[in-house]
Symmetry: C2
């Protein structure tokens, strides 16, 4: 079921700027045991990202009510919240004030691999575009992620890992990436590219209490060879260990204790399902 | 009037990947004296860009017939041809084969400034994202152009000039950029960012016959100070001289003879109106 500006709908104006230019944002939120997980964090990010794009985010009460409406009678699902600059403006130049359009939809909870599955990731060749001015934002310009995720040859791959245009790791196509070496937890910085994930932030906040020292820094793919443990995070998959990275590389990882500890911790906080 | 997959429509499936991810392409074509200008070049670019995205472009005859249908009885207008990867797929990962969606629409010819108007451009702070893997493609990820074109404070500006993330000039928000110094015609390379415009290619092809030596190279904004002449090009505005660049700079240009010569030449070829 889908609500476009609060009305049940299956289509949107063909002149919407989200379609024409990717002029908008989105959030993907887990609906679990009849509640939206980490909703505060998601709506805070939506608000902050909207400000960076000069967009007005809808009132929180409105979004909450629409999510509740779609979740009624459902135990689990995936909420997608999409905000565009609406229709209008003169070509690229936005109308002022713009009238944003919101699209709230509920989707079935995906079939995820078992918690102890040995997941594989593909090291993608397609890089994430570099631009400090929009880095970190969960905007609708996702062609890079589409092209990268078309790279792996079979469905055995759970995720693709992407580098920036300089060849350093940034993130997964739909997740953030963490590497553990002994008691150090490394994740790439997002100053030039990537999405600042809600679960990524929660992991960074939780790690010190679990005895992990966090480092946000440049991470070359070759460094994966020396990693003890590797995992990816997002709001739906939660925290998932990778057992192998292939593509133009082939590395195997066996440890998963740090990921499991963090996942248990974040489940306790109601951040992941 | 708008045709979505050949049917008159004003809306599209809310699950279209063009809206979700900017997963698609577009062309903007001048309809002039009852004909589409440079249609061969536009459809060739659409085909080449589609191949780079792993998309199948619709048959030429189909697109031509739909453009003619929309142009019937109109002397002039702007044809917009939009091709998305359609609906479906698993998140970012495209369905194979994908079923692309085409949206062909006709818009009124815009009110352009008089041919001898002294046009101003704004030197934008928002940079064009860098990514060799999608550089040159007229894809739907246009958030950079939206944010850059929101920068200029008043409608006196005709266009905005954009730099790459290293601070070198790339293009206008909706045009390509040329600089003349004596008999040398300079335009930025598009290996890492920018759109490879149809009129840009036509200018580069025509310039030698007009005694101009073309150089495609890195161009710092400061080099504009020493330019004799400056102009921007696209399929609707044609070739337009700039009289002034402002923003975090202020440069004035008086010559426009090269732009006028090239415009006359390309009008003769049926490339611009």
């Amino acid at each position: 079921m889908i609500l476009v500006d609060g009305q049940a709908a299956t289509s949107v104006d063909v002149a919407d700027r989200g379609l024409a230019y990717g002029d908008g944002l989105f959030e993907t939120i887990a609906w679990h045991h009849g509640a939206a997980l980490a909703l505060d964090a998601h709506l805070a990010r939506l608000g902050a990202d909207a400000r960076r794009l000069g967009l007005e985010a809808p009132p929180r009460e409105l979004l909450e009510a629409e999510i509740r409406q779609l979740g009624r009678g459902r135990a689990s699902g995936v909420v997608k919240l999409l905000l565009t600059r609406g229709s209008g403006g003169r070509g690229y130049r936005p109308a002022r004030p713009a009238k944003p359009r919101r699209i709230v939809s509920m989707h079935p909870w995906p079939q995820l691999p078992a918690a102890d599955a040995a997941l594989e990731a593909w090291l993608c060749r397609h890089p994430v575009s570099a631009n400090p001015a929009i880095a970190g934002i969960k905007h609708l310009n996702r062609l890079d992620q589409v092209l990268a995720s078309a790279e792996w040859p079979d469905e055995a791959c759970f995720e693709g890992l992407m580098c920036d245009v300089d060849g350093n790791l940034v993130e997964g196509t739909r997740s953030n990436l963490f590497v553990r070496r002994a008691d150090r937890l490394l994740t790439p910085g997002l100053e030039r590219a990537g999405v600042a994930g809600i679960v990524r932030a929660a992991v960074l906040a939780a790690a010190p209490a679990l005895g992990l020292r966090c480092e946000i820094r440049t991470l070359a793919p070759a460094e994966l060879a020396a990693a003890d443990e590797l995992f990816v995070t997002n709001s739906i998959i939660g925290i998932r260990s990778l057992a192998r990275v292939r593509g133009h590389a082939d590395w195997v990882f066996t440890a998963r204790d740090c990921a499991e500890q963090l996942a248990a911790h974040l489940r306790g906080q109601g951040v992941v399902a």
